[in-house]
Amino acid sequence: MSDNKITKTNIVGFLCNWCSYAGADMTGLGRNIYPSNIKIIRIPCTGRMDPMMIIEAFHNGADGVLVSGCHPGDCHYSEGNFYWRRRYPHLKSLLEHFGIDKRRFHASWVSASEGKKFAEVVKKVTAEVKDWQENG
Amino acid sequence: MTNIYKPHIAKVVEIKVETGDIKSFKFQFVDPAAQKAFTWKAGQFLILNIFGVGEAVFTFANPQTRNEYIECSIRKVGLVSEAIHELEVGDSVGIRGPYGNWFPFEKWHGKNLLYVAGGVGLAALRSPIEFALDNKQDFKNITILYGARSPLDLCYKDKFSDWETIKDTQMILTADKGSEGWKHKVGFVPAVLKEVHPSPKDTVAIICGPPIMIKFVLKELLDLGFTPEQIVTTLEMKMKCGLGKCGRCNVKHLYICKDGPVFTYAELKDLPDEY
């Protein structure tokens, strides 16, 4: 995204089916407002999150990526998010090395009941991505 | 200069399901003049473009004597063929060609023709079969031996009765495994060929099918007394351009797309085993 005029902010959200996806639902039910920049893709578990899909998302023009799953200890498959918790810092560091700013890639834990938190997370991610877009 | 990679735009006019994974498509050019100018000879092939997906090589299923449309029978195996199977009547495709050499029918006047086909291999032989039937006066007896894994896997079932009614034409059908109501032969093509025992005298054998069938049919034919010059086949090879340029169908000094795909067994014997 090299052109200076920023028209859109596209964020891809990979949400785990059991917690964060339900949490995003809860956000709507609780009438919490969050930026519409995020496009949500449901995944079975953050442990299933293939780093290649994140790289592809950036390659295909995503400005930001958020991966969100269950809190540690609450994984539906007991340990999926523990694996993700290792993949995330490594991938973030590697992407940063390739020039994909660390403000563009985030992870969060959002449980099915944390609708409010999900809205906060999306707001924060959007603000970070916009900060990168505007201030470089 | 004309752009040799640019296809003619054509539309799907008819789709017919042949077997579980084979469909036949009839295409007609959007430009009727181009359709008229587009002529080919039995044995040649074309390159079909599915816009947004890519292009792939297929043989003509209909002969030049029935050229008001272009027909192809396509088995679902890869990226492009899968997209073709999704096509509906009225969809646009691109066609470029024709490419390659053809069956030398002019050399075969006054001879018997023996066609041996297996599975989807009949798609490549339908064009030469129908060409010969349309010019039956030039040839003596025509025998068509066709086999598939099961009766359900036979292509062009509706054509057989038309073909058989033509004078001195014989159809022999076989299935590796029969099923209820199957009145024809049961067994592999080479075994049936041995049983039928055609005479090599004044006969040309034209074969197409899976490699394993070709291997054993060749052996039978040679045992029956056919010479390598009397056996003709058409090769399948990965091709991209059809123009003798992209290099992938290169075997020895030949480019299968340009110097083939029709070869006599005598010619093939000299080629290394890389096709």
Binding site: E56, P72, F82, H90, L94, H97, G99 | E82
Partner: protein
């Protein structure tokens, strides 16, 4: 050392301790060597070892995994062999590691000593079945200075740097094909259904390839520099592989190829793992 090496391999082949021996031989001039495959004891005389023996022969073990193989390894190459054993690509007992003491190898393109050889702690090989020659290890540890310096750049500068590098990339896949741990029989880069990577060669697609490859070898790459030295257009891939080594060390205190029983960092976890950056 050459004489000693030839005698040893001759002996191993004669005694059927190995069916194949993989070593080095002279190539087109005195500054170049090629991998040599020897199965006839009489042909062992071709083999040699010198500072131009840059290839990592460990990568050939995947090809000969059904055979008993003797392989000539510099100290650094032994990490590759161990990593492949850890990945269960072949059995330890089928491999005879012939360690050769090494004072560093020279890049045939520049004539300079490889950067990794400057602070090398395995000039004298460790873990080999036979060791030939002696060399003095560097007292200084491996330096990550260049990576650290690059990390200080802004993400924009980094992106521009890689853009310029990947514009040069011709996607010959030399980096992937020489890589000992890139042995997938059906690499994502050549799949057509689905097509992860287009065959179109341009900086963006090339970058995608390298990003995914680097991610795939994280925690497995031994930073052997085979890809870096293989590149026909001198893309500094070392800057990436070294980053992987640095991250593995800093994030997970892990070093590839050090232990044949280890679990690589991404295929295990610890309940106490840090999560400072997760919201």
């Amino acid at each position: 050392m050459d004489k000693e090496l030839q005698e040893l391999i001759k002996k191993l082949l004669t005694e059927k301790k190995a069916e194949w021996a993989v070593g080095y031989e002279k190539s087109y001039d005195e500054f170049s060597t090629s991998p040599a495959f020897v199965n006839d004891p009489a042909a062992a005389g071709r083999l040699l070892f010198n500072k131009y023996c840059i290839n990592n022969l460990g990568s050939y073990l995947n090809k000969l995994k059904k055979n008993k193989v003797a392989v000539v390894c510099k100290g650094c190459d032994i990490a590759t062999v161990f990593e492949l054993i850890r990945e269960k690509q072949f059995k330890r007992e089928n491999v005879t590691i012939i360690g050769v003491a090494c004072e560093g190898v020279v890049d045939k393109r520049t004539g300079k000593l490889l950067e990794k050889c400057e602070n090398c702690a395995v000039k004298q090989p460790v873990g080999a079945d036979f060791t030939l020659g002696t060399a003095k290890n560097s007292p200084k540890p491996k330096s990550f200075e260049d990576v650290a310096l690059f990390e200080k750049k802004s993400s924009k500068e980094k992106a521009e740097f890689w853009e310029r590098q990947f514009e040069k990339c011709i996607r010959c896949y030399a980096c992937r094909n020489v890589c000992p741990v890139c042995y997938c029989p059906d690499c994502f880069a050549q799949r057509s259904m689905p097509e992860y990577l287009s065959k179109h060669v341009e900086a963006g697609e090339n970058k995608l390839f390298h990003m995914v490859r680097m991610q795939h070898v994280f925690g497995r790459c031994t930073d052997c520099k085979a890809c870096d030295t293989a590149c026909p257009v001198n893309i500094p891939l070392s800057l990436l592989t070294k980053k992987l080594a640095k991250d593995a060390k800093e994030l997970f205190n892990y070093e590839s190829g050090a232990d044949t029983d280890a679990r690589p960092p991404l295929s295990t976890y610890d309940e106490g793992d840090s999560e400072s950056d997760i919201m």
